[in-house]
């Protein structure tokens, strides 16, 4: 009887916790709870004798328990019950520790009370209580130990790696060197090589394009170093633009080979927001014949102690390619003299840096920088990862290995195959909806167990190019090309279709080309229940759209409760990306115009120049307010920091508008200077499509909350803008600059195997990304 009671109440407590943390009001869960409570009560009441009563309390409880259990399965939320909404890990607070301690003390205290009143203690309680309690507590301790171990591993990683590039840091590299040397002590001599790489022309890139560009250069340089060197080589970032590679077992010939490969790899331009950043590298090679005894001996000789970063011949290194070779033995590292003689720079470079590292290995690792209001988040460089199809999803283009660049440690799997997959939305009960304008339907994906592809079915079909999807509570809005529908959604099914915005223009312009020619609509629901609908332009620069009724190239607003749509924002050429931020602001990501004329004075004024078209105008990511005008086709948001200068640096944050030389040369059509600057932007011809917000806590790996944009990539740029998933950090009520989150869908020759359309965060915090070229939905699971 006591065992029954304890087990029942233990499960009841656990179920109550599940109920409290599920984050959703699930009728099925409530009925399960009632069933258990009724059964517990029935069991407790059953032994007290009820023969003289008109009815038995326990039997009544059993009846309620049975029927509630049946009701739990019958309730429409039963399916959602088996799909937890997401992770919830509260810290072990003092209150919880106190509660646990009190709970464990309760059994002996309660068991001892009878003795205070001269009665005998219940031996059963004193024995069974701990027997049931101990396994639970041990499990909890095991779980806490696991958490601590993971935290220690994270800390160890942070202490030994460079945040920006993901490479190991100086401290870790020297530990690796020392370990390798120690392991070989007493064995046959084995040669080693150290490559010291210093980026040339890095500072000018930083000065000209800003720190974001500089960071990208460092990240790409690190990636190229890792991919160029051998698997067994260890590459570290040891300073601002300095890298050190330890190549165990490499001889002189190998060192030369590796040096050449590194120089070749870093010579290639680094693409960044439409620019090609160029740096070169000076590489010093230091070879060791195997008799080196480690940094300790070098230090004891005192030479390297004289060498500090500011006294090292960095200026010379950045201007002179080092080709010498040397010996890591103490004789090779002769301290200050060696450092000031150019002829032996290469000889000592590796050895000195190694020794210097050992000398300063106690330096603290720099903490992560707090992100400013409009800044990018500091995250490690993207790393190459293989796209892994789940069972049954390996058809073309995944019949051969596909690789993408994602944050380090993240996994990318082909979660579902959905031909023509476009925009996405999660249902309140944890299913993923995918719009397919090509097929006129909306597909639902029901997540299966880990590692299993989701079950697919059609939620609703026979629609006119359904595209945008948005939920308002249990009401699903689907944007067809000519209207917006509202459906009542419940447990994977829709009913009660209503038209909430009709008569939307959906004629396609042959000028625009493409499968949909701006006929597709997106939809978002504001905090107040108003609907926002994007209506694309009929052409590239079709100014008459601004006077059409209903107005095209606009964002329309349907007031809460319904009514005729009215223009909310205009001059929005094709605001396919449409979403509401955590504070209720409405944002749009816009596909801007093509073939822009060069607007500045001179012989090229008005000409369509490929070099200018490639980067102009930017694709806006703007927060809309009633009446806002994004300028098209009279004013263009301009990324040039020094307008009119050749090779002006570009910026995509808070950019102003300039007149379109073809449609508004004199400024009579629209006063571009009066338009508020665009909050953020993307490179010209990015073709941003799906826009969504990952709300707090947001993405793992240091990203946090932010906006996600599916960059479809251009067809009208040379070279084509590569497709990617972009991230814009959401901090202090606004968005930071564009950061690439997932890329690698485009080959160097411009061909592509995939084109992301939209990325949304799932209940499990993973990203789900649609791709209409590959016909897939990827699951991108982060770590950290």
């Amino acid at each position: 009887m006591l065992v029954q009671l304890m087990v029942l109440l233990g499960i009841l407590g656990a179920l109550q916790r599940v109920s409290r943390t599920s984050g959703r009001r699930l009728g099925s869960l409530l009925l399960l709870y009632v069933s258990l409570v009724a059964t517990v009560t029935g069991v407790l009441a059953s032994d007290f004798g009820t023969g003289s009563e008109p009815f038995s309390i326990s039997v009544a409880c059993y009846i309620v328990g049975y029927l509630s259990l049946g009701g739990a399965a019958l309730h429409p939320s039963a399916e959602a019950l088996m799909h937890p909404a997401g992770a919830r890990r509260n810290g072990t607070t003092r209150l919880r520790l106190g509660l646990l301690g009190g709970s464990m003390a309760l059994i002996p205290v309660v068991g001892g009370i009878p003795q205070l009143f001269g009665r005998s203690a219940d031996g059963l309680l004193q024995t069974l209580g701990p027997l049931i309690m101990v396994p639970l507590v041990l499990t909890r301790i095991g779980q806490l130990i696991g958490q601590r171990t993971r935290a220690e591993q994270d800390l160890a990683y942070q202490a030994t790696h460079d945040d920006l590039t993901g490479l190991v840091n100086r401290r870790h590299l020297f530990a690796v060197v020392a370990q390798a040397r120690a392991a070989r002590r007493g064995g046959p001599p084995s040669p080693d090589v150290v490559l010291y790489c210093d980026l040339d022309d890095f500072k000018p890139v930083n000065d000209r394009y800003g720190h974001e560009a500089g960071d990208e250069v460092l990240r790409r340089a690190a990636q190229r170093l890792v991919s160029t060197l051998r698997d067994q080589d260890v590459v570290a970032r040891i300073g601002g633009d300095e890298f050190l590679a330890y190549c165990p077992g490499a001889d002189e010939a190998t060192a030369e080979l590796l040096r050449g490969r590194v120089e070749e790899a870093l010579r290639a331009p680094i693409p960044w927001r439409g620019h090609e950043l160029r740096v070169s590298v000076s590489v010093g090679t230091a070879c060791d014949d195997g008799r080196y005894t480690g940094p300790g001996r070098t230090l004891r000789r005192g030479g390297p102690r004289h060498v500090r970063p500011q006294t090292r011949p960095q200026a010379n290194l950045t201007r002179t390619r080092l080709t010498g070779r040397g010996d890591l033995s103490p004789a090779g590292g002769t301290g200050r003299d060696a450092a000031v003689k150019p002829i032996v720079r290469a000889v000592v470079a590796g050895g000195l840096v190694v020794a210097l590292g050992a000398c300063s290995s106690g330096e603290a690792v720099a903490p992560r920088v707090t992100v400013s209001a409009s800044g990018a988040v500091e995250v490690p460089a993207l790393a190459d990862t293989v796209v892994r199809p789940l069972a049954g999803n390996g058809g073309a283009p995944f019949d051969r290995e596909r690789r993408v660049q994602a944050p380090p440690g993240w996994t990318v799997s082909v979660w579902a195959r959905v031909p023509g997959a476009r925009l996405l939305a999660w249902t309140p009960d944890g299913r993923l909806l995918v719009s397919r304008p090509k097929f006129g339907d909306v597909v639902r994906l029901v997540p299966g167990r880990d590692g299993e592809a989701p079950a697919q079915g059609t939620l609703v079909g026979g629609l006119n190019q359904p595209h945008g999807l948005a939920f308002a509570g249990s009401t699903l809005h689907v944007a067809e090309s000519s209207q917006v529908d509202a459906f009542a959604y419940d447990a994977g099914a829709v009913s009660g279709r209503r038209i909430v915005a009709g008569g939307l223009p959906d004629d396609k312009s042959p000028e625009l080309g493409g499968a949909y020619a701006h006929a597709l609509k997106s939809v978002a629901v504001g905090r107040d229940g108003a609907l926002y609908v994007s209506v694309g332009s009929t052409g590239n620069v079709s100014a008459e759209d601004r006077d059409a009724r209903p107005e095209r190239a606009s964002i329309l607003r349907v007031p809460p409760g319904g009514g005729p749509p009215a223009v909310f924002a205009r001059g929005v050429r094709n605001g396919t990306g449409l979403a509401v931020d955590p504070d209720g602001g409405v944002w749009t990501a816009v596909n801007n115009r093509d073939n822009i004329g060069y607007p500045y004075d001179g012989s090229d004024r008005g000409k369509v120049l490929r070099a200018y078209v490639n980067d102009h105008p930017l694709e806006p990511l703007a927060r809309l307010e009633q009446g806002r005008d994004l300028g098209w086709p009279f004013c263009n948001p301009d990324p040039d920091l020094r307008p009119g200068e050749e090779d002006s640096p570009l910026s995509y944050t808070g950019r102003p508008f300039v007149r379109d030389v073809q449609t508004n040369p004199g400024g009579e059509k629209l006063d571009c200077a009066a338009l508020p600057p665009v909050e953020q932007g993307m490179g010209a011809h990015s073709a941003p499509l799906g826009l969504s917000f990952a709300v707090a806590p947001g993405l793992p790996g240091g990203y946090g909350p932010g906006a996600l944009v599916g960059i479809h990539g251009s067809w009208n740029r040379t070279p084509p803008r590569p497709p990617e998933v972009s991230f814009f950090a959401w901090r202090d009520g606004t968005l930071g600059p564009q950061q690439t989150l997932l890329t690698g869908f485009q080959a160097p020759d411009g061909t592509r195997w995939g084109r992301p359309v939209m990325a949304v965060q799932g209940p499990d915090r993973a990203l789900y990304v649609s791709d209409d070229l590959a016909g897939a939905v990827y699951r991108v699971a982060g770590s950290g």
Binding site: A60, L69, G70
Partner: protein, 183 residues
């Protein structure tokens, strides 16, 4: 209006009751079936409970058996109507309810048919039935545990602890006073 799904060959399709793709019977039918069925069960439950609490003695005696039978039918209907993909907890619950229904039928007959008597076997079936029901609920908890393992264990510890005073100050004295064994 065509509801045909164009998902291509070899894709894992969600299956309908008859094993065909559900696309041809898109969602609304399911929604229509789910809610009325729940309401119907609610009404039936109220009637069963009312019959037990206020009905004539012969009717009351049958209500325990009726309720467990109705619950099994509701479970089966729920699994089909909601197309539940993770069926293990519901299967366990159905097994538990089936065992308890056998026990209830046995009790019902033992009061009315000479030669039927309850004893060791019915006790065993009853324990097995409750264990199956509890296991079903435990499976639901386990399903959520990876997301909140610490919280679930803490809650279970508190639940077990609460059992101590309930036992010591409420149940044990009453059991002893009624002359029952506390073991």
């Amino acid at each position: 209006m065509s509801n045909a799904v164009n998902s291509g060959p070899g894709l894992p399709m969600e299956k309908g009751v008859e094993g065909e793709p559900v696309s041809s019977r898109a969602g609304p039918s399911r929604a229509l079936a789910g809610r009325p069925a729940t309401v119907t069960l609610g009404v039936a439950s109220a009637l069963v409970l009312a019959a037990y609490l206020a009905g004539p003695a012969p009717l009351r005696a049958a209500m325990l058996l009726v309720s467990s039978t109705v619950a099994i039918l509701a479970l089966g209907a729920g699994v089909r109507l909601n197309r539940l993909t993770d069926r293990r907890p519901w299967t366990l619950a159905a097994v538990g309810l089936a065992l308890l229904t056998v026990v209830n039928a046995w009790w019902y007959l033992s009061d009315r048919v000479s030669g039927w008597s309850t004893g060791g076997l019915t006790d065993l079936l009853q324990i097995a039935g409750y264990l199956a029901m509890l296991s079903a609920i435990l499976l639901v908890v386990v399903r959520h545990a990876p997301h909140d393992g610490g919280g679930v264990i803490d809650a279970a510890v508190v639940g077990v602890a609460v059992a101590a005073p309930l036992w010591e100050f409420v149940m044990r004295p009453r059991l002893l006073a009624a002359g029952h064994s506390t073991v």
